[in-house]
């Protein structure tokens, strides 16, 4: 059945609105992904305040300034699982099947679900930037830097949400989606989110060198510490977009597989 583009957009907006409201109606679900990154930032500012003078660290006034990008990325990664978990819940409780029975665009079911967590990702980035501002943590790139980091938060949440949606569509289990959470945690820690790659050694350094999260974080960090540059903007925005394209393709493929199996 061919659907008019206007109908598809209307369905997408309706489903996006539903997923966004669902996130904000469950503070217990989103609270930890706002509180824990700020807690770790506060912890790190006391624990590693003397580490910033070590060789390999960029010139920063405080560890908090250094870890701003890591805090934003950490929060966004953790928060982005909620959208995919909600998609799995829709499959579990039969709402997904009811949507399929209705004349609804198939892709809007997926993108509608991801819209909520993506908006939340952008909002998280903004909250972290504003929360650390009173502690002297600024973005040297100015307004362009702030906007870029918020947009990066939005796109990263979408990219990770799409990746997690593959698990949701494959298993139809919210528990399985939540079970992949430690993988994100490992990827984050095996990157330069909390310490520079220059201070690492051996296998850890090699993994961090290959980990795309390292380059995303370093782009945001450069905007925060050094100011605007083409490399920093590319790392901040192009890498998440590239990952989003790849993970969206995977999610759409898994959606087709699920629909074909019905």
């Amino acid at each position: 059945m061919r659907r008019k583009p206007a109908d598809v957009v209307r369905q997408l907006v309706a489903l996006s609105r539903r997923s966004t409201l669902a996130i904000f109606r469950q503070p217990a679900l989103v609270g930890p992904s706002l509180i824990f990154p700020l807690f770790f930032a506060a912890l790190g500012s006391s624990s590693f305040s003397r580490a910033i003078s070590l060789p390999g660290f960029p010139k920063v006034d405080s560890y908090l300034q250094f870890t701003l990008a890591g805090t934003v990325t950490q929060g966004v990664l953790f928060g982005s699982v909620t959208g995919a978990a909600a998609l799995a819940t829709d499959i579990q409780d039969g709402f997904f099947d009811r949507l399929l029975a209705a004349p609804t665009s198939r892709t809007s079911i997926l993108f509608g679900r991801l819209a909520g967590s993506s908006l939340f990702g952008g909002m998280q980035a903004l909250i972290f930037l504003l929360a650390l501002l009173p502690f002297g943590v600024t973005v040297q790139a100015g307004l362009l830097g702030y906007v870029s980091i918020v947009v990066a938060g939005f796109v990263t949440a979408f990219a990770v949400g799409a990746l997690m949606s593959v698990v949701a569509l494959k298993t139809g289990s919210a528990e399985a989606v939540q079970g992949t959470f430690p993988v994100l945690f490992i990827l984050l820690f095996l990157s330069s989110a909390f310490f520079p790659r220059e201070t690492m050694s051996g296998a850890y350094r090699r993994i961090a060198d290959f980990n795309p999260i390292s380059y995303m974080v370093e782009g945001q960090r450069s905007l925060s510490i050094d100011g605007v540059s083409l490399i920093a903007m590319t790392q901040t925005l192009v890498i998440p977009v590239g990952i989003a394209v790849l993970t969206t393709m995977l999610a759409l493929r898994q959606l087709s597989v699920r629909l074909a199996a019905r």
């Binding site: 006391s46 624990s47 490992i186 310490f195 201070t199 993994i207």
Partner: protein, 259 residues
């Protein structure tokens, strides 16, 4: 039935669950290994900070991984108690001629066996990754003592909360409280390296003393904490006092549950 026999039976049941429910045991084993590996790798350079007590990051973070694993193994007993309460198994236990003390000590014994297994495996992996016990056998014994002590404290706390809440609401408080106590200590860096508010909090946090006990056999031989009585007694006092309080809390809440 005597208390010791009941303790033995309940401990055996807890240990058998490792084979019957490996999905519950392996995450508890994976977490300390994961913590050790990622912390030692990410914060590799932290040992270069002047005054840091060891020149191997794995020596500092292996005890942290084990302590986190032990604390969560302890509160995990609270999760098991909640499941037993919800399924009605606890009511059946309370109807048997079993002493209330054995309902706490039995599962606790099983948990301590699990903690010994977990600690041994993490130490073996840690040594394979470069950890070195500068304090020899005594240092290893201190690490085991700290692990067993912390899991006892966690178990008492977890059981007490399980008997109060009787459902999974208690689980979130168990995890969050242990998480905060562990991280608001010298978990990441020693007291002499940290600054600001965390130094004030960590100095009065009993977990700092227990971590100090765990690390006495892993710091450099030139460090003042190396196998020193000063570094050991605070941890032992913390374990005895906090362990006594938490087990007392668990027994008190169990009696209230029975009434």
């Amino acid at each position: 039935m005597s208390t010791s026999r009941s303790v033995g039976i309940l401990a055996t049941r807890s240990i058998r669950n490792i084979r019957r429910l490996p999905s519950a045991f392996f995450p508890a084993l994976a977490m300390p290994i994961f913590n050790m590996v990622v912390f030692a790798g990410t914060f590799f350079a932290v040992t270069k900070i002047p005054g840091f007590p060891t020149d191997r990051s794995i020596n500092w973070y292996m005890p942290l991984g084990i302590m986190m694993g032990s604390a969560f193994a302890g509160v995990g007993l609270g999760f098991t108690a909640i499941r037993d309460i919800e399924t009605g198994f606890y009511d059946r236990l309370r109807m048997t001629p079993t002493s209330r003390l054995s309902l706490v000590l039995g599962p606790l014994t099983g948990t301590l066996v699990r903690v010994v297994m977990m600690t041994t495996i993490v130490i073996v992996i840690g040594i394979a990754l470069g950890a070195r016990f500068t304090g020899g056998v005594l240092g290893i014994l201190c690490l085991y003592a700290a692990a067993l002590g912390l899991s006892t404290i966690g178990a008492g706390w977890g059981l007490g909360l399980a008997f109060i809440f009787k459902d999974m609401r208690g689980a979130a408080i168990m995890q969050l409280s242990i998480f905060l106590v562990m991280f608001l200590s010298s978990a990441q860096v020693p007291l002499n390296v940290m600054d600001g508010w965390l130094h004030t909090v960590a100095r009065i946090n009993p977990a700092t003393n227990i971590l100090r006990l765990a690390r006495v056999g892993l710091v450099n031989e030139s460090n003042a904490d190396h196998l020193s009585f000063n570094a050991v007694w605070g941890g032992i006092v913390a374990i005895v006092v906090m362990g006594g309080l938490s087990l007392g809390f668990a027994l008190r809440q169990l009696r209230k549950l029975s009434n």
